[in-house]
Symmetry: D2
Subunit: 340 residues, 4 copies
């Protein structure tokens, strides 16, 4: 860590910092410039944080040098993490499509969708049983009944299941039913929920918060790994910007960035990422070309009747025809769509 001191800092003040750093076990290097004094401190970053040196009036800036995350980093683990879910491997050569409605609405809807997306090449069925909605007056999900319907659809179709957990008190219940636990964007920094899923034996897909930086996102994954669950999957789903033609701004640069900084798999959600079904197919291709390990996508039998997010859902026909194109693309990139 680099500590930049203000002009006019006295020797006593430098000495005070030195002693404090020394107590915490830091090695110190001092650079006396023409205009500023710069101190380099090498040691345990988390202890330096606690000193909060920037609160000292003669400290201009503290610049961290080492990344604050450890377990999620490529430096901690060189080889890619591959997450095994039944016969599927997420994070390797296979590309996985996790398709289905935003919310589980009825038995018929979820079974029909499961069969349709399975046929087109999906390997996972997605669908929300518990829905965190912006308005208290909007549909909040079927709850436990939704989980049971998902499980029935798994039996019937052979697909695996991914669904969101939103309440710390529900983690065990949801984990009983699902194959992958999903942490939604708004809960990315709900640290109590992160600690709870960290105790589960099920893999966790961690969506990026709408205003989360790459570093904060990786730190949220670090919470889960630090809590004992090493099966974490990132999911880019767009960030909030001034552009409002799209619901969010899908930040595909995060795919190669995460592949470089971390060993964990990366999924992309072009449905929330754009909020417009007519952009989903192009952005799915772009995500795969950028190196994503899979796609989370909304598919609904009748998007115009969906109880949530119909505007961004594909029909069965759209999904199937997109999958045709993806197969060719994946193969040109040396990868394979698992279910197709």
């Amino acid at each position: 860590m680099i500590i930049v001191l203000k002009r006019g800092t006295t020797e006593d003040q430098v000495q005070e910092i030195s002693e404090r750093l020394d107590q915490e076990g830091f090695k110190i290097h001092l650079s006396q410039g023409v205009e500023k004094i710069i101190m380099g401190a090498v040691g345990d970053r988390s202890r330096l944080k606690a000193l909060d040196l920037e609160a000292l009036p003669w400290v201009e800036r503290v610049v961290p040098i080492l990344a604050p995350y450890k377990l999620v980093s490529r430096e901690f683990q060189q080889e890619d993490t591959i997450i095994q879910v039944g016969e599927h491997q997420i994070g390797g050569k296979e590309i996985h499509f996790m398709a289905g409605p935003c919310s589980v609405e009825s038995r018929e809807q979820i079974l029909e969708t499961a069969h349709a997306v399975k046929k087109a090449g999906a390997t996972f069925l997605r669908g929300g049983a518990f829905k965190p909605r912006t308005s208290p007056y909007a549909f909040q999900g079927l709850g436990k009944e939704g989980l049971e319907l998902l499980a029935e659809a798994r039996e019937a179709s052979g697909l695996k299941i991914i669904t969101e957990v939103v309440d710390v008190r529900d983690v065990e219940l949801v984990a009983e039913y699902t194959d992958i636990l999903q942490i939604g964007a708004r809960n990315m920094q709900n640290f109590f929920l992160l600690k709870e899923v960290a105790k589960s034996s099920k893999p966790v897909m961690l969506k990026r918060g709408p205003s989360a930086t790459l570093e904060e996102w990786m730190m949220a994954a670090e919470y889960i790994m630090d809590g004992g669950n090493y099966q974490v999957i990132f999911c880019e789903r767009g960030i909030r910007t001034f552009e409002n033609y799209t619901r969010n701004t899908l930040d595909l640069s995060m795919v190669p960035a995460l592949k470089s900084l971390s060993h964990l798999p990366v999924i992309v959600d072009p449905s929330h990422g754009t909020g417009r079904w007519d952009l989903v197919s192009s952005m799915t291709k772009a995500a795969i070309a950028a190196g994503a390990d899979g796609i989370l996508v909304e598919v609904h039998p009748q998007p115009e009747k969906a109880l949530s997010d119909g505007k961004q859902s594909l029909t069965f026909e759209n999904f199937a025809s997109m999958m045709e194109e993806i197969r060719v693309l994946a193969s040109a990139l040396g990868r394979r769509v698992k279910g197709a």
Copy 2:
């Protein structure tokens, strides 16, 4: 609500929408322009949402006309809500200062701070017992012990207490100790937590999420009111933007905007809003001049030794001298700093 149809929409397609709207009890007005057909629909907005007309391929856009919130709106209640906490009134002529450390760290620290801020004119003591931290390796708060120390400081100083609740399972516990429950910025859309505090008899201060729009923020307050707790206080604490000289961008326009759209009180947090103690005093004055009902501000006996957020904390001296200036300012604005 206005429904704009794409060029080339057929009469049958218009008919289909009309019937569907009719079923849901909407009154419809049709405008046939040269280029586009426009439908006006008047009825219950929440039911229109469910129809998700934008998923219909011939619908270009649906423009909501009525605000989605009700209970929080100035139309629902004309006069200002005034929240009574002991002898204090938040939302009227009085201006309240809620001062204290980011985290409760020790008995000595919190008692010393309580006496100092009380003397300078604060009416509430703030301090976190449960800290949601970006890093799993950072100090996470003293927990229940922190609550007990706050209660002790209340006894000793006569200040009221405000502290954050972060876990749905802790709402009852925290409510036992605190005078106001604080919902932190990262939990603004933790809807399960909102529903839980809605059942409490204690007032709730709802911080704005770092990427929350005004409408989303008001909808979060609507959750709490809809759940039965009408004592809600907004707290502006800055939004996330590209500007990184400040930790957040303090959006003071929200103060007059909320005063116009809602009847609920508004507090401003210049400490998180700027992340720099040297800007706190100016932004406190600006917040008061903009019409805020109070200020949430970090004060620490030794900011440079704070276990969290020292960089943005005022010393006792800084706080006291700021309060001198505020008193004069408040009086010029026809208001009164309660504790001073």
Copy 3:
């Protein structure tokens, strides 16, 4: 256009608006809801703008229905615009690579680069002669000498040239040398410069401003078309957001969005879009998969010695190996890299 009136608007006030709209030739439809009165007005949008009805105290909101642009829209021209530059066609099946250094620095540098990128499959040589730099103390470009070196490199390599014009007084000069005029991101709303390039016979590539919405960007293109130059190419180069791991956030959703709303070609600049050379190759693939008609990319013989933006430049080797991969990808997408 929809005009929403506030609760309590009187009949006289409605009448006043009606008369004013009538004078400007608008057809009016009135919807009397339970809570609000809504007026629909069909006519010439630009004249409604002039009325600025939102300044009337009893008008709550004015919602535009028609897009403000005409000439750039897909509704104005159904088929794709194809821009012919010598034997090259931009906007059709061909994909074009416009490669070269950020700035022209020397004869040797630009000639060497021209040969290298030509060999690897580029069709255009890019390079700045006039550099708008954030700091007055940074290298500002070689000026006219730079243009001459670009022309020499064109002769020597057979590549076409694209270079930026930054000053209204230089448009004629730059147009004499270049094959495509580039408008930089910071000048996207320099309307006098737009009007000047509108008079040129050379095609114009219009970069998106770092905080420009899709609509503002299309309006800037409208300026150029309205001024008489129909050969406009969009270039997405990232927007400014809170995420600072990348220099900008490359917004690839704009590619399919523009393809849907407009008939003009779309190029992507992954070098400025990410600011990191190690992300350029992945984002180039993603851009092509999203449907881009070409790529603007920084390539430098010795990136670490570049006088500007070396951090985001590819070496010759990196560029050549990327082009190998792109060829396969393009063909899987039914397109062809022109120069390869």
Copy 4:
């Protein structure tokens, strides 16, 4: 400047950087940490920039320590710059109101406005003669006739004049008429325009670009000072964020930040900063309380008939009643509204 090297950097690679820095006259300090090697380099920042060390594959990051601006900094000049315009002083104890319409529309409009704002306490008349408009179909200003009308209004009222210059070719013309040259937000990084106004003897008010950081804004001012014109005034007018209830997000923290980092005066524009006339009065008070040296505000005889931006303009009555309140506020802050 701090140079952080990647793990595994060899001694030869360190040597290569050292030699290069040495050639450019930098003093170097080397810190060998457990995980990373860190180099400190002290010298002329602009030359280091040219080396672009981040393009070297073994360099992880380069962290600048010194600010890139000089002339605008408080370190360059300790005491506040006070700009004398006739009998007025901007940047001292006086607070100045620069009021008037967005555009000069007619002789009657501008004269009437001049008299009204003068009477209420303004010292400057604002009004655009050349209007950069997002749409080519919108009103573009009266041009030279507008300048003449402004000059006539100055004669008639005794107010000073501030108006925008948008084209490099018009700087001399506009400077002949105006007392202060205004650089609009979209031109903040139009470096050729900055260089042109730098040659003028008239003071320049530099509006912040909608996506400009504090540092970029200060660098734009540095261009003007470096070009020879030391009379620069900053004008905060809001930045672009995701929040769209307001037209921009007025970033008042910039007022104390600029006062701390720079010696130049700071003006605030709450009209563009909010885009809503009903928020202007509150945000004007907030700006003054934050320490602004003046306010640029839109006032129009009939806002609902304004040819541009009526929605954000005050009526004469609103302006006059706001000024009453401001007078009391200014005096409580130890300042004085000059014209009142």
